[in-house]
Structure formats: C-alpha cells, structure tokens
Symmetry: C2
Subunit: 337 residues, 2 copies
C-alpha cells in the first residue's frame, strides 16, 4: 500500500482504492466502539423498528445533463442507497450549498426536478437547509440529501452475506450515467445519444423483495461502477466471484464511447443499476421478474459467487480468457455524482 | 416585499428576511401535499415512534476558530436541532465535500474534533460520504451532518405552540459564536478573548425535559441570532412578545465587540444557546434548573408572550423606551456556520 498523500487529491473522490484508503483513515479516527464503520447506509434500531439511514452529497458537473440533473440525482441517489439496504424509503432531507451569483432560474429548475423525482420515488422532503458561499467558493450548487427508510420484517440484505453458490444479477445496461456526464462535460459527440440511467431503484426493488426472493446482498453500482461493487461484496463477504463478460449488458454506444475515451465500462458510474446476489434457488425467476419492470428490462445473470480466490473478482472474457476485475486506484471521471 | 433577485446573493444565506423568502420560494416548488414546509427539524412517525430528522451543511470560515472548529460545529449544530425539537439525539450522518489540495493534517484534526464532539453528545456517526472537487470549487472543506433522534412519549414542543402568558427563557450569554468567528476572520482583536459557545444542548435539554417542566416551544438561536428565533416563534405561534433588554445576558466583550464592528448583539449567531417558552407555571424553577448546569449557568428569564401585536417582538430598552426587534433583511456575518 502506498503512503497516504499529505494533501487531498481529486482522485480521492473517485470511488477507487485511494478513496477507500481515505475513508478508512477518517473512519479510524471518527468511528466509536459501537459504530466501527461508516457504511453507505446504516441500519439503526429504534423502538424495535429497523431504520435505514443514509447520506450523500452531490457535486456533479455539469448540473444539467442528458437524462437528469443534480436535482433528480440527489433524490434518486439517496433513495437507491436506502432501497439496496432493503428499506422502503420514507423521508429525505435536502441541504443546498449555493454559490453567490447562481441564477435563480437554475435553482428553480433544480427545485422542480427535485419535486418530480420525490413524487416519482414516493418520498417526502421533510427538512432542509440553505447555505450561500462567495463566488469562487463552490461551483454553482452542491446538494446533500440524507434519507430514512424502514426495513420490513423478514428482509435482511447485507454486502457481507454473499455465499459460494449464489448468483450475481444486474438489473440492466451499465455505463450510461458516467458516459452521459463525460460527453456533456467534454462536449464530445459519441454519434449516438447516451442518457443517464438515473432512476429510483425502489420502484424495482420493493416489489422484487415482496416476491420473497432469497436476495442476500444488494448494492447500487455508482462511483467505481460495476467493478467496485462486485469487489466490495466479494471483499465484505470473504468470497470470490466469477463473472461472464458476454452476459454483462453493455450498450453499443457505451462500448464505443469507452473505446474513444479510453475508459473501462465496468468502472463507469451508474445511477439506476444495482447488483443483487441471490442464493441461486430462484435465479431465473428473479431475472424474469426484473425484466417485467421498466427499471429491469435488460436484467441479466452475470456470474456466480465461488469459494475460491476470496476477495477477488475474475471475469471470463469474450475471447475465452480470464482476467481479474480490479478497482481503479484513483479516479477516471471526477464529479459524476 | 421586494422582488426576488434573479441571482443568488451572499445575503441569501444569512438567516434574515432574504433567506426566508428564498426558502419559501424553493419550498413552494418542492413541498408536496403532505410536507408543505421544510422545517429545520421534522418529526416523522414510524411504527408509532416519533423520529426527529434534521440536516445542516457547514461552510464556516475559517474552519478553525476560538472555541471550536467546523468538526465540533457540525456535530453540535445537528444535535442541537434535534434537542430543541424535544428529541433524544441517536445517530448522525457525515458527508464531506473536500477541495483538492486540502491538507490531510487538517482533515485529521477535523476528524478528531468530530469524534470528541460525538462522544460528548452521545451520538453515533453511522453513515458517511466523501466528495472531492477541484481546487477553487470549494473553500477547504464543507461538512453536512444529518441526524435522527427519538421524541420521548409525553414530550411535545413546537415553535407554533407559544401562548399569551408564557415566559421566555434563554440559557445564557448571547453573541459569542458570531463574534469569535468575525474576530478570527477579520483578524480583529477585541481586547478580550471571545470564544464560540458551540456545545451540545442535549446535555441541558434532556434532563430539563425529564423534570416535566411545561416547555411549549424551543429553538436554538443560530443564524439571525436571538432576534430571528424570537420572531420565528412569535410568527409561527401568532403571538406577540415583549422582552426586557436589561435581562438579556450579553457579555461585556460582546457588547464592546459589537459596538466596534457596528453589529446588533441580538442578530449575532450562537451555537450553544436556545430560547425556551414555558407556560409560566414554573418559570423560576426552570431558570434555577438551567443555572445548576454548565450549559445554563447564565440562564435568564428575558420576557413574556403577549396577545397584543401578534408576530411582533417588542423590546423594553435599558433607557426605558420600547423598540421593535427586527429580523435583519440580509446578512451581516456570512459563513458563520
């Protein structure tokens, strides 16, 4: 492991190894005995109820992009963190940091997006905060949302619960969000339109869990992409994974965009995709159920959990070879969420 | 009412009339039927429990100041929002926006402060997020904390519950936090040291409520100071207030600092002060109880709620006159929290 740099690098925010090291360093200092880790979403027991609690700050640039804006992203991002923890999202908080000089019209547009997104996701925005900083001390607008939800009785999913023999399912096409941001930001035309997949995963996950499928682990594939999520579950659960490149749904436009930019599709952030690890008893039915819903219509079974090479994700390539699916060290696409 | 400007002004963040107008405008767009307002702290009913939920972003400049830093502030600020809603704080989320180039040493110092503050306040930090933005797109570090707590059975406080005949109590000296920030930021020596009063009000409020005092409304006097809080309760409750200038505890150093800078002490932000409105049956005992505790040792009964001039706060001055206590229009001290 390399020495921790003495200043924060842009790469520290990228969802890669550097970010993990930073978080571990900070958590080591902050974590108390009864809260040893800063989970993406925590479950807090209150009066016998399991309350899921999560937070995310959004610094995406540009704030308006194909398929969404910072407003929709800030609602769906937090709703999704709750949903993949097995919770029914209930209430969201909303905190703005606005740069002096930010156009009121843009603020109103973002507010309208927030309202539509909250309506679609069925959450109430119940509390808020507004701060303003001088020109040059932010980049238009940053938004933090935190969310609370309730984990229904009988539901238990956790990234440390995957077991050998389980199957790995993704709910659809990967790579769209990150590429949509990159193309808008860099002004690059990929020849075809790529839109962010930003969407409220609760729409798919809640009815899916109501079916009683034996889902052990779920995680949305945001910063660091599918590669980061697979590695996280493998590492947390102490298991290996084997995924089949040919089964991973990657749109043609994402493939050619990635080729043009030199990106690896598995590292590209998504905002409406998640990995579900199921015990294998109902794999086909889970995929079929997902495919019957809008947010799962390109769902696919992409691999399996194995007892070999714990903590490592191996991919069978379309050329018949094998390679390790790594987590990027730093950041290839800063500020995509 | 003046026309809303077409760009965000620094003054929009100051806790005055401009900020209220901005929030009202945004809330009008965001609020759904069942969440018509963005309360500072909301109560969400879950499985029969009353869960208090609040959020705050901290953009204070400088991040290290006499009596605290952005880390302590971010914990106590959120703990205090929960405490004045009558809740016992339980869990806090922590989201960093860090500027590229921010010294790791400062991040560690802030993290250590967060840990000490959380330990003192008895809350667990259970979930977190880290974003990094390019140099020049933030100002070192911004922190969002959100918090959840439980309102015990039998406790019910709300800023709209004050009634004529109630008494108004403040738990101690006002003006210290804002002046500490201003003196550090502007490099002005007031001749005496003024330290931020930043502290976890739950330490005082929880045992106070356990005494069963008939407290109807509480609010911490942060941005906009004591003046903003009194006006908020008067407005929300549709009552008038009369406060006695001679009874308001203002330290000599704050008075002379305010004179030097041209500030009104009642508009200066505090981070460890709150107003409690009690039904009058036990006023002396509430003050006495507060004075027996560290965070209430300068507590004072400063006025009463009246049925006259609803929505307006009148002050009997030390010169025997009367004046209206206004909410400032814009912002006199930006980025004090």
């Amino acid at each position: 492991m390399e020495k921790i740099p003495d200043r924060i690098l842009l790469a520290h925010g990228g969802g890669g190894i550097l970010m993990r090291e930073l978080i571990e360093e900070v958590v080591k200092r902050i974590g108390s005995a009864d809260a040893p880790s800063l989970q993406d979403s925590a479950i807090v027991e209150i009066d016998g109820s399991r309350i899921a609690f999560t937070t995310d700050s959004f610094v995406v640039s540009p704030i308006f992009f194909p398929g969404g804006d910072i407003g929709t992203l800030s609602i769906y991002g937090t709703v999704n963190d709750l949903a993949v923890s097995g919770a029914r999202p209930i209430a969201v908080s909303l905190a703005f940091i606005v740069e002096e000089g930010f156009p009121m019209e843009s603020l109103e547009r973002v507010a309208d997006s927030i309202r539509s997104a909250a309506d679609r996701a069925g959450v109430s925005i119940v509390t808020g905060d507004t701060k303003v900083v001088e020109k040059g001390k932010a980049d238009g607008i940053y938004i933090n949302t935190s969310g609370i939800g309730v984990v229904p009785d009988g539901v238990s999913v956790s990234t440390d619960a995957a077991k050998a023999g389980d199957v790995i399912i993704v709910n659809g096409n990967i790579g769209e969000h990150g590429l949509a941001i990159a193309s808008k930001r860099e002004g690059i035309d990929f020849g075809v339109d790529i839109e962010s997949d930003s969407a409220p995963l609760s729409e798919l996950i809640i009815p899916m869990l109501e079916q009683g499928f034996a889902v052990r682990a779920m995680r949305d594939a945001t910063r660091g992409g599918l590669a980061a999520v697979l590695n996280e579950i493998a590492s947390d659960s102490g298991v290996g994974m084997v995924v089949d490149e040919a089964q991973i749904p990657i749109p043609e436009a994402v493939l050619s965009g990635c080729e043009l930019m030199g990106y690896e599709p598995l590292n590209i952030a998504n905002e409406g995709k998640f990995v579900a690890v199921e015990d294998g008893s109902d794999a086909e039915r889970v995929v079929e159920f997902m495919r019957s819903r809008e947010l799962g219509r390109n769902a696919a079974l992409i691999g399996e959990v194995v007892s070999e090479h714990p903590g490592t994700v191996v991919m069978k390539t379309i050329y018949g070879g094998q390679r390790v699916v790594d987590v990027p060290y730093g950041d290839l696409l800063p500020r995509i969420c």
